[in-house]
């Protein structure tokens, strides 16, 4: 093995029933480099990583790790850990009902002289660790009390704290905002200095150019190539991933796509609140509007949306939907008033893992019809096929259990679930999370198309760029309260200033 190489994978092939997920893929990781692994949804990135960490059992190929004699075949994440490979998986897989500290040290707890877990030291070390990464949590609290973004940061903290030669980050930034991403990059650069090789998977191209040294591109389970970052400018990277030229930055907003002033009201919220998550707020949304919610992590964006939808029942205030007073005590009530909510935590609140793609797509539609008016099988298949085609969901068949799809494709299926209900007011909480750039643009276009049909959309994204491309108005949140709205021409500067607490347009 060359002396600066920590990891080589050669000729890796892997087949799932009905899908060749990896076909003869090579991958090389050098000491002290950050190596981006890129490709569209379902290209095989997560699969390659799982072959390395022993979750997938690959059929052909060999893996060598610096400092280990012969080839390496891991059978579990613990195995991988023991040869110095530390991983943050795409779907957070920590234990929600354990404390933050326990999650950070599970499997490697500090011990007392009597071979019992030394809780005091564990708490202290955990506290230091989260402070170092500047994560604002109470380490004694259960993990489930924190947002997905915080959970993602905890997973990163855990992985980066372990003694490792290779650190794998599979879409770690998918629900982080810019501030958190900066913190993560600082940690990554620090580890890089120490000689750790880092594999970084993301669909955010700017992040690739901000920290990576090298890029490996996969397409449909095959290797496209490995490139030093300087040789692969953005346009070429996109072309390599998609196999065709594509301009993902082209404007998609049609002329005159501005805040609606004369259409009737869809949502009028007055003093709505949910104890502990969102303070009383007022919000009006007209038909055909795309309103963006912006703010820092934990500012209450998702919580505001959830209180309207009844996912967290609002305790105070009143809500009018399409001019009529509405009582919403559970999501079904909101759905019957024409609402839909795509939640941000796909694994915990989105997918029904063991059910098929078809059942996942028609679930909300069926729930709206009621248990006794079952959609006919033919109708179900027709709807599922329609959305599989429309959103280009990559799946072996429509009867494949959804948990076997790649992360981005699961996300598309859940989006399809809500589109199928034909809602008048659709709340999209990080709808493009984990979705590749080609499809992302398609989804943004779809949002604009829906709004032109007179539907109202509430759009939440930690990517300001994306919101600027689709929204015609924005509400700004800070510390669990709505602090203002932005209208007229939306620019990055105005939004950033508003988020940070500038006086721009604050009411």
């Amino acid at each position: 093995m060359e002396n600066n190489v920590v990891l080589t994978m050669r000729g890796i092939s892997m087949t799932f029933p009905g899908v060749k997920a990896l076909d003869n893929v090579d991958f090389t990781l050098r000491k002290g480099e950050i190596h981006a692994l890129m490709g569209e949804n379902g290209a095989g990135k997560s699969t390659l990583i799982k072959c390395l960490t022993g979750i997938n059992d690959f059929e052909a190929g060999e893996i060598r790790v610096d400092g280990v004699e012969g080839t390496v075949k891991n059978h579990s994440t613990q195995d991988a850990q023991s040869v110095g490979i530390s991983t943050v998986y795409q779907e957070v897989n920590l234990c929600p009902n354990l404390s933050v500290a326990e999650n950070l040290y599970i499997g490697r707890e500090p011990m007392t002289a009597f071979h019992t877990i030394d809780r005091k030291t564990m708490m202290k070390k955990a506290d230091e660790l989260v402070k170092r990464l500047d994560i604002k949590v109470d380490v004694t609290q259960n993990l489930e009390n924190y947002s997905l973004a915080i959970q993602q940061m905890i997973a990163i903290a855990r992985a980066s704290d372990m003694d490792c030669k290779v650190l794998i980050l599979d879409e770690p930034t998918s629900s982080l905002d810019d501030g958190e991403v900066e913190k993560l990059f600082k940690v990554m650069n620090q580890l890089k200095e120490e000689g750790v090789g880092i594999i970084f998977v993301t669909h955010f191209l700017e992040q690739v150019y901000a920290v990576c040294d090298r890029i490996t591109v996969l397409r449909n389970g095959t290797l496209v190539g490995e490139y030093p970052i300087a040789d692969l400018p953005r346009v070429k990277l996109v072309a390599a991933m998609m196999g065709k030229d594509f301009d993902d930055l082209a404007s998609i907003k049609p002329e005159g796509f501005e805040a609606q002033k004369d259409t009737p009201m869809e949502i009028e919220a007055r003093g709505l609140s949910h104890k502990g998550t969102i303070k009383p707020f007022d919000l009006d949304i007209r038909k055909g509007e795309v309103i963006g919610l912006t703010g820092l992590l934990g500012s209450g964006r998702s919580e505001l949306a959830r209180s309207i939808y009844g996912a967290d029942r609002a305790q105070t205030g009143t809500l009018k939907v399409a001019g009529k007073e509405a009582k919403i005590s559970q999501p079904l009530d909101a759905m019957n008033l024409g609402m839909g909510l795509l939640p941000d935590d796909r694994k915990a609140e989105g997918i029904i893992g063991d059910l098929s793609v078809r059942e996942n797509i028609i679930l909300a539609m069926q729930a709206k019809r009621g248990m006794f008016r079952q959609l006919s099988r033919a109708k179900q298949e027709e709807i599922a096929d329609e959305y599989i085609r429309l959103l280009q969901i990559k799946t072996a068949t429509r009867e494949t259990p959804i948990k076997q799809l790649s992360g981005g494709n699961q996300q598309k299926a859940i989006l399809a679930r809500w589109l199928a209900t034909d809602p008048d007011f659709l709340i999209l909480d990080e709808p493009t999370r984990g979705i590749d750039i080609g499809t992302k643009t398609e989804i943004q276009k779809l949002i604009i198309q829906l709004s032109q049909q007179g539907k109202s959309i509430m759009f939440i994204s930690s990517e300001i760029e994306e919101m600027l491309r689709t929204c015609n108005r924005m509400a700004v949140l800070r510390d669990g309260a709505k602090v203002g709205e932005l209208e007229g021409e939306l620019t990055q500067e105005r939004v950033m200033a508003a988020i940070a607490g500038g006086a721009d347009n604050e009411k």
């Binding site: 996912a311 029904i352 063991d354 679930l363 909300a364 709206k368 006794f372 079952q374 959609l375």
Partner: protein, 357 residues
């Protein structure tokens, strides 16, 4: 290709288990100098009743089969088991006989039909009440299913005894005995079980109930966001399970035309849970397969009957039963399944490689 499809069918292993039991029977029969198909011989005897080993198994297995229906739904929706069904059976039987005979009366020989119907209805309602009680605890108060149903597991039988004033109440009329006896030449329990299975299958097929239950069992939070009333669905499953216990209770008590509180449904919850597991259903909830559970229920009965035929004394029978169950459960365990799959999948792949070379 075809054989691969077959091994992946969820009913494959339950059916293998049935075949295993049948094989044991065939070997035994041959060794006794009888025909190997002795098991299946069904005749109408002198009294004009259908008899034969298969008929006996279907007849005797009815209660467990009925219980297995409710248990399957409960396991799927709540990832827990209802351990009270055996006791609830007994309570329902007692309540039924008490209503028919009147409180404090130990035996009646002649009963008016309306009175009888009142008793039957009472038993079913009682089953539903018990189910609703369990359902409330599990769905709305978030109590662990095992703990919640433990209450009725220990109390229901005693309540039944109280209702009967500590007596074994006999209802010695043909009209009552018919539910555990024969209609024409056909054993009634077989008919009742068949109707229950048919009705539930039809409901599962014609409504979205099956998908609702599985969805809630797999991911409660996500189901709620998608508009399902997770709590109500779990509640409903427990209610149905209670109703099934009521029906099974009537059958069991009708067989002996009495309400023997201490013995009706004794340990039957275990058979029902086992039936669900033998049917290839995960006790962790989620996806379920009703047909599997039903096959599981009759398999359990077949094992019991086979052992009696083999002359295993009833004292040691449980040991043999346990051994058989262990074998059946082990061949269905995921690691064993994976091993089998790998070894059946490896052959065609190797063949392909050889063809390439």
């Amino acid at each position: 290709m075809k054989s691969k499809k077959l091994t992946q069918n969820p009913l494959f292993l339950p059916l293998v288990c049935v075949l295993l039991v049948l094989a044991v029977n065939a070997v035994y029969d041959l060794s006794q100098g009888k025909a190997f198909y002795e098991f299946f011989i069904t005749v109408i005897n002198d009294q004009g009743l259908l008899t034969g080993r298969l008929v006996t198994i279907l007849n005797r297995g009815s209660e467990v089969a009925i219980l297995a229906i409710g248990m399957t739904l409960v396991v799927s929706a709540s990832a827990g088991t209802d351990i009270s069904v055996g006791s609830v059976m007994s309570l329902c039987a007692s309540f039924c006989c008490m209503l028919v005979a009147g409180f404090g009366v130990s035996s009646v020989d002649d009963v008016a039909i309306p009175r009888l119907l009142l008793g039957l209805l009472g038993a079913l309602v009682m089953g539903c009440i018990c189910g609703a009680f369990n359902g409330t605890l599990v769905a709305y108060l978030n109590i662990q299913p095992m703990v919640a149903t433990l209450i009725l597991w220990s109390a229901a039988r005693a309540i039944g005894l109280l209702l009967c004033n500590n007596l074994i109440v006999y209802v010695r009329t043909d009209a009552y005995g018919v539910f555990g006896g024969y209609i024409g030449f056909l054993p009634t329990p077989i008919l009742i079980a068949a109707v229950c299975i048919a009705v539930v299958s039809l409901v599962l097929k014609k409504t979205a109930m099956g998908m609702y239950i599985q969805s809630v069992g797999i991911n409660k939070k996500a189901s709620r966001i998608a508009g399902l009333n997770s709590k109500r669905i779990i509640f409903m499953c427990y209610l149905l399970c209670g109703l099934c216990a009521g029906i099974a209770g009537i059958v069991a008590s009708s067989r002996i035309t009495s309400a023997d509180s201490n013995n009706i449904g004794l340990n039957m919850e275990l058979d029902a849970i086992l039936a669900v597991a033998l049917g290839g259903n995960s006790l962790g909830g989620g996806k379920f397969n009703l047909a599997g559970s039903i096959i599981g229920a009759y398999t359990i009965q077949a094992i019991t009957t086979t052992m009696y035929n083999l002359g295993v004394s009833s004292a040691v029978a449980p040991v043999f039963k346990a051994v058989v169950v262990i074998v059946i459960v082990v061949i269905q365990a995921p690691p064993v399944k994976n091993w089998v799959r790998k070894h059946t999948a490896a052959r065609p792949a190797a063949g392909k490689e050889a063809a390439h070379a």
